[in-house]
Symmetry: C2
Subunit: 116 residues, 2 copies
DNA sequence: AACCTTTCGCAACCTTTGGTTGCACTGAAC
DNA sequence: GTTCAGTGCAACCAAAGGTTGCGAAAGGTT
């Protein structure tokens, strides 16, 4: 039933801040909590918590570098997430099309039997 | 930058319960808070709150029928949501491919100049 | 009509989550 | 060694998801 998707992964990318963070990490390469917070409307600590969430579900991983922690996207995991996005999208899309087809069939049948 | 997506729409479908509710409404047709709650691991009131959220962002709409309220998916809005899903997915996918390509280019260059 | 059942909406309350401020610690630079 | 930038931890707040409890309204029964 397709409902077998990773809920944790979904809720991870469901947050707009976290989605933007992934965007930034993809666009600009690895970054730190501080560097990301400078480009986001929240504090470093908030960013830090989001990074922890993304790290926990495996979408990113940290690499200590001196006093900094460089975070970067785990490409394989993100690819998996993208696949799940499109799976759900495709499922809904298919259902919508099926509903539309049924509705049209009924309509056609109605106009046929009722003659107009 | 694609970040111009409807955050409300995202957070609406970001919740696993709400995603399942949409699934159920698509699969079984219109339903009420009570009927949905019977197929979900939460109480009717929780379902009711979720329905309110989905209604507010326009993904579903209610149709009063006697003492019941029949909710059903707004197909156009859901189609829009699906489009946004695939937009974000495509963006990330493109970035991942770009990164991979660059990495491969660097690698190729390295092995060329270093001779192996 | 009176009664019971079902469905709903509202209010109070609890827990988790996203956000903030404040503080102490550490690596790097001067 | 002092100073500065980046982190982590803790306390505290507000919003969101969830629960229980209750009262109101529509529908079916007798």
């Amino acid at each position: 039933m397709s409902a077998v998707v990773d809920d944790e992964l979904w809720s991870a990318i469901g947050d707009p801040i976290r989605r933007t963070m992934i965007d930034l990490l993809l666009a600009d390469g690895p970054g730190t909590a501080t560097s990301l917070s400078r480009r986001l409307p929240v504090t470093r600590q908030a960013v830090s918590k989001h990074l922890a969430v993304l790290d926990r579900v495996g979408l990113i991983h940290a690499e200590p570098a001196g006093r900094e922690r460089h975070y970067q996207v785990d490409e394989a995991q993100l690819a998996r997430a993208v696949a799940q996005l499109s799976t759900v999208g495709a499922t809904w899309d298919a259902r919508l099309r099926r509903i539309k087809r049924i509705a049209e069939t009924i309509e056609r049948h109605r106009t046929n039997t009722q003659g107009g």
